[in-house]
Symmetry: D2
Subunit: 133 residues, 4 copies
């Protein structure tokens, strides 16, 4: 995997069953995606402010194999698994104690930020994403 994001499971990630709430884990993967995008010069804050394009999530999937608890130190490994003309797929592995505790994927579509009509990925972003898959 191309990019690594360390994370410490917090109380706000957990629920009354005593473990990580599944939707929190999806959000944590997205935090890894945000760190990745920033690392290639396309931080989401900048993308939102420039309003040249948007990259909403069109699809998400996740598989949860192992329980995670408050205080667990995990590592999210991600890579760009598919790069299309106007979309790309990011895949995640959540590692706990050298085991894959969960996997996830998000598909991001490049859109006009006003109309949400699909558009081609900007070439400079494509180049960056290509180098990471």
């Amino acid at each position: 995997m191309t990019f690594s994001f360390p994370y410490s499971i917090g109380l706000h990630d957990s629920d009354a069953a005593g473990v990580v709430f599944f939707a929190s884990l999806i959000r944590i993967c997205h935090q890894a995606y945000e760190a990745f995008m920033e690392s290639v010069g396309f931080g989401l804050g900048k993308i939102i402010q420039e309003r040249r394009f948007g990259l909403p999530v069109a699809h998400v999937e996740g598989d949860f194999k192992q329980v995670m608890r408050v205080g667990d130190k995990v590592e999210i490994r991600l890579r760009v698994a598919h790069l299309g003309r106007s979309s790309f797929r990011v895949e995640y592995e959540v590692m706990l104690n050298n085991t894959v505790a969960a996997t996830a994927a998000t598909v991001h579509v490049c859109v006009n930020p006003e109309t949400y009509a699909s558009m081609e990925l900007p070439p400079e972003l494509r180049t960056k994403l290509k180098s990471k898959n």
Copy 2:
């Protein structure tokens, strides 16, 4: 209290200690505020889209007296406790089984949505808020 908002405590509101996470309760009070604002014709979605003014939270406080658990049916009672020229204070009581399980307050400041400079509350909003305090 002027406005009542029913809420069922959800799994995502809880944490691994088995009870409601305190910041979730603050968010639940804000959901009551949103329902209240919509009831007086100033839904936050509309305010954000019209961009005539913003009402960010400048201050929050909360006191948590009783434990709440997943599935608990609570009622949030709110009122406009103070109405200034460019700000107002909303107070909340979270009722569980006819007891005040928590109290909270938010202070909202009316600002220019671009510059965040303070501005006077629009008269039509002031009138609505006045009728509720």
Copy 3:
């Protein structure tokens, strides 16, 4: 679809792109699932407190077709789409203005709440879920 859950999109569900954050939508579907489970006599709070079994999410997927904004009134329609020996799949449609704005699914596995070993669904829960698929 078997069960209907009304929801008003809140500020805390949205993000700086101006629309619903995708992971919030997954959480909203889970809120619909919680209301459904309670309606068949298996509220999650009760399940967690009794500690006879747990129903963690083992898989999630979601497809986001249309933008949703703060104040939008949506309806989540859900049904039990598959009922196995020790798991079941719930499918969701998020309706906005009579259009399917998003779909999602969660797979829940019945486990021993201490060991997280898979176990058969309790017969009385199975009967309830069967009547809803």
Copy 4:
């Protein structure tokens, strides 16, 4: 201030007004508290699992002075501002570009994790907290 916690504002922390959602900022301060507690040997995961005592938040307050946006790098500085027999107060400063963008405080009460009756802070925790105020 005694303890410093760096944080990068994420998309999930923001709302449709384009800035950080106030309840997210409270949660971020709590993440700093969790990191602090872990640094003194009392990580919340451990406290929850050992069930010797609990430290629920009995009071929270926050003042938001400056807007924060997605991608902003903030630093949360915290200190133990008051140390009582069975409670303690933690104060937070959220720094953005060398300015105090927000302040917050939480009061934690030491309780029996079953009954939620107040109890004295364990001496070894008191010693750790004392060294940090």
